[in-house]
């Protein structure tokens, strides 16, 4: 399935009430995203890890308690700040297609390095569920994860899983259901930058809000990217309705 049709699908789900809610699966490479994707959907998406493999996001659907969910498997990335085509497509999907819930799959054996992406996703969307996978392997390495503590620190649901043995999948389905239905109380950890950066952000955000009013993107996140001078993302923004003006304005901002 091409990226373009997936975006239609995601946008449709937020507008039409009849179509299934879209849930995105993100995470670092090799954390078991595709394993979880296959478990949920029953599909056999090929897994493997080399650059450019999953540039095209794949999608499938599953039913949970008579409700259909559309699951989108994003390419594995270390970051949302685009360096490669796969990172670009992941961040573009999360920013512009705005899935109803996002699951970030994290590797319990090196959780620390996975939290970078968690925080980055948290800046785009607060409808986030963290799935700590590979807990069996972590245990073997004598690593024990304080799931409740992590949940308190991040302010979003954290699910423990051993996807290769199907553990935690039903809890994950339940968490996704609650998130989509808006029954999850999230108090996400917000990232505050230096006063100088915050001041600049506020100014840009005000401009974005003034230019065109209500388009469905996260203004703060877009402002952050503009401040960074992320030209690629701004060019992408031009392809979306109501965002053309902002894109042009953003690209003409003085370089940092």
């Amino acid at each position: 399935m091409s990226n373009a049709s997936l975006f239609d699908l995601a946008e449709g789900s937020s507008r039409r009430t009849g179509s299934p809610p879209v849930v995105a699966l993100a995470g670092n490479p090799n954390t078991g995203k595709s394993t979880i994707f296959n478990l949920l959907t029953g599909l056999r998406q090929h897994t493997g890890n080399w650059p450019g493999k999953t540039v095209l996001v794949s999608s499938g659907s599953y039913y949970y308690q008579k409700q259909e969910y559309q699951l989108v498997d994003l390419p594995g990335t270390y970051s949302l700040l685009a360096n490669s085509p796969d990172e670009e497509s992941a961040s573009e999907f999360l920013c512009f297609a705005r899935p109803r819930a996002t699951v970030v799959v994290a590797d319990a054996t090196c959780l620390e390095r996975n939290l970078n992406l968690v925080l980055q996703v948290l800046e785009i969307t607060t409808s986030l569920i963290v799935c700590v996978n590979l807990l069996d392997e972590a245990k073997r390495k004598k690593i024990f994860i304080d799931i409740k503590g992590l949940e308190a620190e991040l302010g979003v649901p954290v699910i423990a899983a051993v996807a290769s043995r199907g553990k935690g999948i039903s809890q994950l389905k339940e968490a996704i259901k609650k998130m989509v239905e808006g029954k999850t109380c999230v108090q996400p950890r917000s990232i505050t930058y230096d006063p100088e950066v915050e001041k600049a952000l506020q100014q840009i955000e005000k401009q974005i809000a003034g230019k065109g009013g209500a388009f469905p993107v996260n203004c703060r996140w877009l402002a952050l990217r503009m401040l960074e001078g992320d030209a690629g993302l701004l060019k992408k923004a031009a392809e979306y309705k109501n965002l053309e003006e902002i894109s042009v304005w953003g690209q003409n901002l003085p370089k940092p």
Binding site: Y78, S79, L81, N83, T109, C110, E112, R113, N116
Partner: protein
Amino acid sequence: MIKMTDLPVRARGRICCLAAEGTMRRRLMDLGFVPGTEVETVRRRPGGGLAVYLLRGTMIALRKGQSDYIYIERSGYFE
């Protein structure tokens, strides 16, 4: 303070700063090369150039062109 490129195999150090800017800096930090992080050189290709580093529980291979940007404070050998 030495370049990470010059950190001998099996030696350990702590990252003190990154000399890179822009996307290169971003990329290195996304991979976990953040000041304060402990790294160890696992192996290096004969003649240098390409090396594998262990940091935050993961091995990452970098070329000289990237590891030259990372500055290390030596902290000893890994037993």
